[in-house]
Amino acid sequence: MIESGHVLNVSHLTVDYGNENTPALALRDVSLSVDPGEFVGLVGESGSGKSTLAYAILRLLHGGRVVEGSIEVSGQNVYELDSNHLRKFRWETVSMVFQGAMNSLNPVLTVEQHIFETIRAHDESVTLTALRSRTDELLDMVEIDKRRAQHYPHQLSGGMKQRVVIALAIALNPKLVIMDEPTTALDVVVQRAILDRIGEIQKRQRFAVLFITHDLSLVEQIAQTVSIMYAGKIVETTPVEQLLTGTLHHPYTRGLLNAIPELLEDNVAISSIPGHPPEITRLPSGCAFHPRCLYAKDECRMSPPILKLYAGSWIACERLPELEELYSDQ
């Protein structure tokens, strides 16, 4: 089936974890779309709502309610699926690599059994021969020796377990794979090897990826489009080239970029953003970033800014037209 348009379309999504008296808005009016085969990076600090967005897409929110907005995957509203279709939708259409994925393997099942179970859960008629050949194919894709198929998770290194989890996520050829901090617990070299692997498989298999991370420097390496989240809102969506070379960014993005030490720069100076991220039960008025923003004006405290297209990037900032001038004054 060929669909036109986006594989994922989140529009005006608001998710509340609180009760009637104290709302706790983990996501506020979030809109995001992913094209088929696109690699989107979603960057935010802890508590910014990036994992909540992933769970909302898979309808896995625990204790959270979607109070507004909709999520469509391949044109189908996720929250209108009946339980049977929902079960199929998960993994056949959208799969996920969870945070701390290394612990998401069952310790008493072998690698092979994990893959068999995943495929059988969606297609009972599949033959053992077909399962075996698919397992070989998948392990080959993630560069794991076929002999490892008989091994249990405790016999594998952290990086290998992570690659098994990625193999499981792509086992049913989903259209979209959500990866929530897939390399956070891994060593730098392993992390880089896995990112390279993900990039290659993604190009070959043409699925879309929503890659969630707190590390801006990771998505710079691998994504095509990057969205930055702050306090439950997307504050900027920009092509990755713009992130690497452009200067016009949301003040928060700019702060993040300045907060990362650059390995090869001789005159290394970094600065942090003053203050700390707000709690979702006590969000500042207007733009949630205004208490930490160097450029905040009165109007920033009034109403939340909306994303506007400016020089190739979508930026949610009241002072957007003046930003260029404000930055150059420094």
């Binding site: 600090e45 802890s46 290194s157 990086g159 290998m160 060593d187 730098v188 070299v189 392993v190 992390q191 880089r192 090897a193 390279d196 707190h214 590390d215 801006l216 420097s217 990771l218 710079e220 390496q221 690497l244 928060y252 702060g255 993040l256 300045n258 907060a259 990362i260 030490p261 650059e262 390995l263 090869l264 720069e265 001789d266 290394v268 970094i270 600065s271 942090s272 953003i273 003053p274 700390h276 991220p277």
Partner: protein, 333 residues
């Protein structure tokens, strides 16, 4: 058989701490099938006054074991640690208590390093009282770490991660230490506030002349914070150099791999050397260089003997047999 760098002789500046041949081992397995794990394997280095020395390595490289040996949470199996000329590797009792005042530790997780039932004031005041430090007060310490006085009667859960790490640092500073061993002090914090903790540590270094052993897995932050960087792999010290030098001219194949894997905007993304994913063998029975199974320059002797330590320049040392990597004409400084 073991070649050790005589680091002490390479510096004219006064070293506060000189570590020689430090080895930490853990006995594993049952008594009749004893296996010995060696997370720190004959490591030598020195820390100068006010210096920030970076220690970079992956998990299992022995970097945290070094931290715990330096703060004498662990007692080394063998080797010497000279603190102002006195070997502190095996001291006990009141001597050890005095040493621990001078070498403090900042842990990775500020959420579990603080007592959840005690206020900020209590936690910072306790070390002050214990040693009768009248030079500092809780107020002056909080001011030094950039915390407002209003926070002093708060409990840890009321603070953000960055504020908690500042309390941990204030508590360490209360003992007037000469060295702070900081084990991944920013890796659990939000990206936007990491820089402020590093600059606070830098600021304390200048104001109070405290030296750091800064332990991290992130080469970029090590370069930013440290004067020198040492790289560990599988319990061995593989390379040490001034920070900029190490990044510009890494000699050890593992350092080169680490550099290639570290994300950088400035660097054209180059292909990662295909070195396999094996983890180093830390058992006491392991021979030769721990990186040999993954090394692109491996030769026969690498799997048999411990690589010799070579000082390529007075400040840049490396443990490797493949001396063509650093003995090429022109590579001499």
């Amino acid at each position: 058989m073991i070649n050790n760098p005589e680091i002490g002789t390479h510096y004219d500046e006064e070293s506060v701490l000189e570590v020689e041949d430090l080895t930490v081992t853990f006995a594993m397995g049952s008594p009749w099938r004893r296996k010995v794990l060696v997370p720190v394997n004959h490591v030598s280095f020195s820390l100068k006054k006010d210096e920030a020395l970076g220690l970079v390595g992956e998990s299992g490289s022995g970097k945290s074991s070094i931290a715990k040996a330096l703060t004498r949470i662990y007692t080394p199996t063998s080797g010497e640690m000279y603190f102002h000329g006195t070997n502190v590797a095996f001291i006990r009792g009141s001597e050890l208590r005095k040493y621990r005042q001078k070498v403090q530790m900042v842990f990775q997780d500020p959420y579990s390093a603080l007592n959840p039932l005690k206020t900020v004031h209590q936690q910072v005041q306790r070390p002050l009282r214990l040693i009768g430090n009248t030079q500092y007060s809780v107020d002056s310490l909080l001011e030094a770490v950039g915390l407002s006085r209003d926070l002093q009667y708060k409990l840890p859960h009321e603070l953000s991660g960055g504020q908690r790490q500042r309390v941990v640092i204030a508590r360490a500073m209360a003992l007037n230490p000469e060295i702070i061993v900081a084990d991944e002090p920013i890796s659990m914090l939000d990206v936007s506030i990491r820089a402020s903790i590093l600059s606070l540590m830098n600021d304390l270094r200048r104001r109070y002349h405290v030296g750091y052993l800064y332990i991290t897995h992130d080469l970029a932050s090590a370069r930013f914070f440290s004067d020198r960087i040492m790289v560990m792999y599988g319990g061995h010290l593989v390379e040490i150099a001034r920070s900029a030098e190490l990044i510009r001219r890494p000699f050890h194949p593992y350092t080169q791999l680490l550099l290639a894997a570290t994300p950088s905007k400035r660097q054209q993304k180059s292909a990662l050397p295909q070195t396999g994913y094996s983890t180093p063998n830390l058992w006491s029975t392991a021979k030769g260089c721990p990186f040999a199974p993954r090394c692109l320059y491996v030769r026969g002797e690498c799997t048999i003997n411990r690589p010799p330590w070579t000082w390529v320049s007075s400040t840049h040392g490396v443990a490797c047999f493949a001396n063509e990597l650093f003995r090429q004409p022109g590579s001499q400084m």
